[in-house]
Amino acid sequence: MADTTSSAIAVSPALAKPRVDLLIEQLARRSESIAIPVGAIIVGLAIFSVFLLCLGKSPVDFLSLMYKGGFGSSFSLENSLTRASPLLLTALCVALPARLGLVVIGGEGAVVLGGVAAAAVGVPMLGLPYVLVIGAMGIAGMAAGGVWIGIVGALRHYRGVNETIASLLMAYVGIALMNHFVEGPLRDPASLNKPSTYPIGKDYMIGNIPGMDVHWGLVAGIVACIASWVLIEKTTWGFAARISGGNVRAAQIQGLAVGPLIVGFTALAGAFAGLAGMIEVGAVQGDANASLAAGYGYTGILVAFLARHNPLAIMPVALLLGGIDAAGGLVQRRMGLPDATVLVLEGMLFIVILFSETLYGRFKLFNPDLWLRNRQ
């Protein structure tokens, strides 16, 4: 909101100026939201390099391994994209409620329940047409995730329960429920030492994008991110949600239906996480089992915060974290560093980027109005 008003004011004096200056000023304004996160990432890497030097390891080796393992070849890029796919959806589970001012961190519960629901619905339907089975699994996964996080939104609005705590605790309940179903009512008796549901079978698996070693979940995630951006930025619902996020009282005075908005957005957020679980079952695991709780819901929190809850920004950030994860293995193998190294890096980036939030509007560089003042 603040951006649009300030640029609107700036337009009138700018009209008199030559076109080149105008372009430069627009570029300067736009570049703030890119330059600050990029600068923060560089600072984070610099701090991490000091950490590596303390361990007696070379930061140059580390960075070149990061590049090689995450982005340096088509194999590495596909590796990163595969890891980014579920993060796109689980990050939306955090970003959408965040636009309403809610901090939902329990997407993991929606992921695992989405996966279980997808398997529960898909397995009895085997033999029916492919599209029907996959469609039903998708709907089931989204419904399960949507209900799970929707409950969090409803508890928040109608009963005043803190959504952060509720969603986190419900994630544990969700994982316990998954274990119950997978080890109990839905268990394939043949899955002796790793309790799982019946498999959906190779014929019903979601395949790879043609020409790439990345499954269709990536496309689903990208579509979901773009759709969420349109929803938030270009529709009246999104506008109403942003108003509620800014000030609930003001929104209520305007006559906005805050309750349905909160429940609707949290349910949609949960549905995306549930879809991530369904894709894990449909494209990766082939059945629902305890491996569904692989931490995608928690990494999604990091992605959403790094992307400042902007659905479009989620895409590059998810790719970056996917790349860090992908390169993490190479770093372990070549440098003899423990797996936790990449977690330390992610933690440092997270802190530096959160800190960089306080820097917006503080640089003259990105604020052409201040340049004008200097000139006069």
């Binding site: 194999f75 030492n193 695991q285 692989a294 293995g329 193998r333 560089l365």
Partner: protein, 376 residues
Amino acid sequence: MTGKLLLSRRQLLKASAAGAALGVGATLWPRGAFADTPLTVGFIYVGPKDDYGYNQSHAEAAAAVKSMPGITVVEEENVPETTDVVKTMESMINLDGASLIFPTSFGYFDPFMLDTAKKYPDVQFRHCGGLWTDKDPANTGSYFGYIGLGQYLNGIVAGHMTKSKKLGFVAAKPIPQVLENINSFLLGARTVDPTITVQTIFTGEWSLAVKEAEATNALADQGVDVVTMHVDSPKVVVQTAAGRGLYVCGYHANQSALAPDKYLTGAEWNWTKPYTDFINAKLAGQPLGQFVRGGIPEGFVKMSPLGPAVTPEAKKQFDATLADINAAKGDYAVIKGPLKDNTGKEVVPAGMVYPETAIELESMDYLLDGVIGSTS
């Protein structure tokens, strides 16, 4: 004009820094550093390498393999049972040149290892868990150990050392392997005193430190005075039990360093044996085994050295039984009918004898009379 100047200077700095980072990364990378050795072997672990448990047992063997001439070992820890493990295997093949890979966690097998093996027919894959059948790709195989008799020997020592006649077992999930260990532990103890009971607590997860500590404390509160376990990382159970003054029998790896006075003995994997066999076969150009199994006589399983607290009577029976097991070469049986489960149902009829290799033991779903606890 200040603004413009600032802009260009900063941009120059940023651009040159980024360029330098990329340039240095590309030139300093040691190309082909891993390509000169005759054999690169990849090991993949589901948890940390230093967990005092399952993963450490593999990492210790990998360390032994590393000292073999001409062998390069690449390792990766904390790899989840998702597409992550596929990407790790591919990364080891594509970036490190690995031609023999050991994915050591049960859940890596289907679909992850099987799919990767189809894609890379020139690479050999050997999975820990004994799931291989002749329908699987020709370049795959599995290896596993029979460790039930190790828990039987644990039970003999525990049976001698207990005063309360109550033993404790902290177990992860009620799957056949775990149940066989619990029953074997009981049968070992009952060779000393047929009134001994084994109180069993299932934590529900392979690695859940808080619940494992709670379970151990609960066992201590109930008067149990010797504890053993089947969880991925026995560290918490060993330390908690020793802290409460209980004796401990270990599992997976040697945990005596965690409780030198209270550690009696332990059933350990000796993966060095299958790993060196596979690697020697590969170096000699001979076919690698595809369904490799062994127990104590074959050197796949070993016992920790007896601790200082173990009494001479316990040592005598332990040594004698161990000698019998070795002499029987796989025919030593402890699951012998008639046996009843702890609900009174006959589970092994009179006259039936199951040595550790018996296929019937692989679908075990009962706890014997004398075990206090329930599989559901």
